[in-house]
């Protein structure tokens, strides 16, 4: 059951009209399939993910396909975005060795950001990253890269040591610390990476929906109109706030991915 369906069914319901508040819930994150192929339901988030990928590719294609020494305005914007991720996130975190991972992390940043922004784009109005599958996929890529680099650089034993054996700690603390580090680096990191992005987008979307639905529900020729307008202002404010969170979550996601890669490439100690 999609958000649109639910709102439409409750459209006539207002405060003091005898019906309860149609509180939005998990249903907001489930969509009727647009079509079904071989038992696989093709839903709105999937469509949005594909649109996001095309938007990112389209933007950078327009900006960078025929680059010039004297950049056009479009190319300039692309360059600023590219340079921001490259310098302020990747090279800043990993250093000169990070040059190799710039394309992956740049792609990841813009893909995640655009998927988040979908939250406040009219008609889309849904952050793709609030479906756990998308952050899980991306976190899996980060995890595979992280583990792969760690073991490729240090070998299996060295890699395990890099993951679990912090330096400069007295021996007896290691008894506690090594299992924690092992658990933290190998299991918790990818999990939190995915869940952080997911939960922020999930909560943000839910907040906007709650206040939007409430504005409509409270709107009636009574004192409710006042509540309704307050709710609307909050919804508008939250939308602006979400714009910040969307960027921030993309930034944090890529920043953490960079720091994991930096940890994997760290010299043995």
């Amino acid at each position: 059951m999609g958000a649109d369906v639910q709102l439409a069914s409750e459209a006539s319901c207002h405060l003091f009209s005898g019906c309860g508040f149609p509180a939005p819930g998990l249903g907001e994150f489930q969509f009727k399939p647009i079509f079904t192929v071989a038992g696989v339901e093709f839903t709105k988030p999937m469509l949005l993910a594909i649109i996001c990928a095309l938007l990112v590719v389209g933007f950078f294609w327009a900006a960078f396909a025929k680059p010039k020494l004297l950049p056009s305005k479009f190319q300039l914007v692309g360059e600023i975005g590219y340079d921001f991720v490259k310098r302020s996130i990747v090279l800043e975190t990993i250093g000169k060795k990070g040059e190799k991972y710039v394309p992956m992390l740049v792609s990841m940043f813009f893909f995640v950001w655009i998927m988040n922004i979908m939250s406040i784009i009219p008609f889309a109005q849904f952050p793709v990253m609030s479906r756990i599958a998308y952050p899980v996929g991306l976190a899996a890529i980060v995890w595979v890269t992280y583990m792969g680099l760690t073991f490729k650089k240090h070998g299996f034993v060295g890699g395990m040591k890099n993951l679990c054996w912090p330096s400069g700690i007295p021996g007896w603390v290691m008894v506690i610390l090594v299992p924690i580090e092992f658990f933290s680096n190998i299991f918790v990191r990818p999990f939190t990476l995915a869940v952080r992005a997911f939960a922020n987008m999930f909560a943000g979307h839910l907040l906007i929906v709650v206040f939007s639905v409430a504005s409509w529900y409270l709107l009636s020729p009574t004192i409710g109109a006042l509540y309704g307008s307050v709710s609307f202002v909050v919804a508008a404010g939250l939308t602006a706030f979400e714009l910040l969170v969307q960027f921030l979550q993309a930034y944090i996601f890529v920043m953490l991915a960079s720091s994991y890669i930096a940890g994997a490439l760290e010299e043995a100690h």
Partner: protein, 185 residues
Amino acid sequence: MAPEVLLAAEEKMNPLLPAWPEVIIGLLCFFIVFGILGKKLLPSIEKVLGERRDAIEGGMKRADAAQAEAQALLEQYRAELAEARHEAARITEHAREQGAALITEMREEGQRQREAIVAAGHAQIEADKKQATAVLRQDVGSLASQLASRIVGESLEDHARQSGVIDRFLDELESKAAAAQGASK
């Protein structure tokens, strides 16, 4: 909690459980983005950024080189100018010295010539005078002795010449004339 779980169970939805088709679609989308950006677009912009960096650095290098060259040229001109001035001063000084030397030399030459001419004149005068005196003395002597011999009637010529009377007389006469001349002056 219970109703939510129920709701989730009813709608077969747990927000923390990824749906595999979505994971695959998400990964596919990411790899499309990564593939096109990583293989084509980012290398191409990276190349242009590098070229731009080179162009800017190259331009700055060229400007630096041009400035350095201009500076060197300026230094060279200044040095040449200073040298030329020095040379001119040296030449002027030399010419002045040479002129002064020439003037001195010519003056000395003139002096010498004048002196030579004067000396020659003096010598000539002296010689003429001596000659005239000698002739006069001879003539006066002979005339006086002739006159005296006529008066005495005998030839005293030889005697007089031997005794030098005439000469003495004449010297006396001369000194008298000189004294008279000195007094008149």
